[in-house]
Symmetry: C2
Subunit: 276 residues, 2 copies
């Protein structure tokens, strides 16, 4: 990883993407702050960034399908993954209590994950914003009293906000899976024991079962599966599958078989399992 | 369906949920306008509504996992489905052109589905709102010039807005699957040939392949599959699966086998396939 110069993150410093980038690469790197996932991908494609960090799924909202599409359509390659246990804290300018808060601004996903907490505060208006950390920064920059952010501990420190209530998300163990992506022309890392695949099948009885039997026969473990009807093509389905394996040769064997049996077989990435 | 008295929809009249309710039940019914899916479920549980319409998946964003969770946790039952080809139109008060528009307000999903269109209009600010039709109503009620909505043709008629550009969504054929849900104490409809199932499996090689083999042997067709890591339980996965079948007896047989082989087997609904 010693060649990394610039890492694209979604959101600004203090965002959860920033935390993942720091944990994965160390905090001496240069970050490109991107307000949308489209801009993040552009940073990779135009060479401004060498690598990007992208949230891909969590246990509450499931897969972030548009990000799968961005990886697929732009032929990016997943080269690593990282699981972050996301703790959402409610924060505002100092010397205020929750009773002083009229509005809470945050990313729709953060609002969704904390909605149970706010049922006890029906008078607080929830407003959707682009990025969790960006709201924290704005409250600080513009000295906005009466408005709170839902963001990370790092954001509260960076932007000098006071945490009114810690860990307000409904599910206490709130793990989100991030992937590290690159352009598809880089050398692979070592220690590969996980892969993300995409393929298509006709709507024919048992077609998926046959593929899963092959993966199982080749000693591959399935850690994720998701079907998606193929846009503009009735009765055709795309499948996104993650597998883990002990020996790369087993995966190699499975690849050569599935490539023949399924249509439009594509490897989205081969990388090291973060949960082994 | 002659006992239906009150239908809960997400959003207000003119929303896509409203269109689905009208197409499925006829337009002589009484609608309960709910601003969130939580409120919609409450309407069912407290008996205010007999039935509710709920978006469940689309080809761009995939499954709406929080809605699956609402059905599962509250023991609701899926009793029908409807596919709506969603066409997003850009609309504003009359006598304006696109060049007069400073901001477009709409639901995050609608903004996502139209983002390619707005790349040609970088000066237009995109603002997330709760409901597509609600923005149209507000523009009309408050006579907001310079602001446009992304909503349905019905909304433009209901709220007297002028369509500036038709069908601005990126994917021209933009189909969303809605389900009709009830409390779990109602009599089932006839003509059942589709079902939504949920079960859990340990992370053991081939465990899913075995279940899919059973479904295939019982002549069931898979139309959807989605794994979800079980919250707070590492190495355990929940699966949401939709199947279609010709004979109910085949489904009955599969049910009795899967119930033994998988954990926490649950039928989320048995209903008539809208695509047969």
């Amino acid at each position: 990883m010693n060649k990394i110069k610039n890492i694209a993150i979604q959101g600004i410093k203090g965002s959860f993407h920033h935390s993942v980038a720091e944990n994965y690469f160390g905090n001496s790197e240069v970050f490109e702050e991107c307000m949308t996932f489209d801009i993040l991908v552009d940073c990779l494609l135009n060479g401004k960034s060498d690598v990007a960090v992208m949230a891909l799924e969590n246990s509450i909202a499931g897969s972030i399908i548009p990000n799968y599409a961005l990886i697929d359509v732009n032929d990016l390659r997943i080269v690593g993954e990282y699981y972050l246990d996301i703790q959402h804290h409610l924060m505002a300018l100092p010397n205020q209590s929750i009773e002083d808060i009229k509005e809470v601004h945050s990313h729709p996903m953060a609002l969704l994950q904390c909605k149970e907490f706010f049922k006890s505060y029906p008078e607080i208006k929830l407003v959707e914003a682009r990025d969790t950390a960006d709201v924290a920064k704005e409250i600080s920059d513009r000295q906005l009293f009466g408005i709170a952010a839902i963001a990370s501990e790092t954001a509260s420190n960076l932007y000098a906000l006071n945490i009114l209530q810690r860990s307000i998300q409904t599910i206490t163990h709130n793990e989100t899976r991030f992937v590290i992506v690159k352009r598809d022309d880089e050398i692979l890392e070592n220690d590969i024991n996980k892969a993300s695949l995409k393929f298509e099948l006709d709507h024919k009885r048992g077609s998926l079962a046959v593929i899963l039997n092959v993966l199982s026969d080749c000693k591959l473990n399935l850690t994720k599966i998701q079907s998606l009807p193929k846009i503009n093509t009735p009765w055709k389905y795309a499948f996104f599958i993650d597998v883990t394996f002990d020996a790369y040769s087993d995966f190699d064997k499975a690849k050569s078989i599935v490539k023949i049996m399924a249509e439009n077989f594509k490897i989205l990435g081969e990388y090291k399992n973060a949960k082994s």
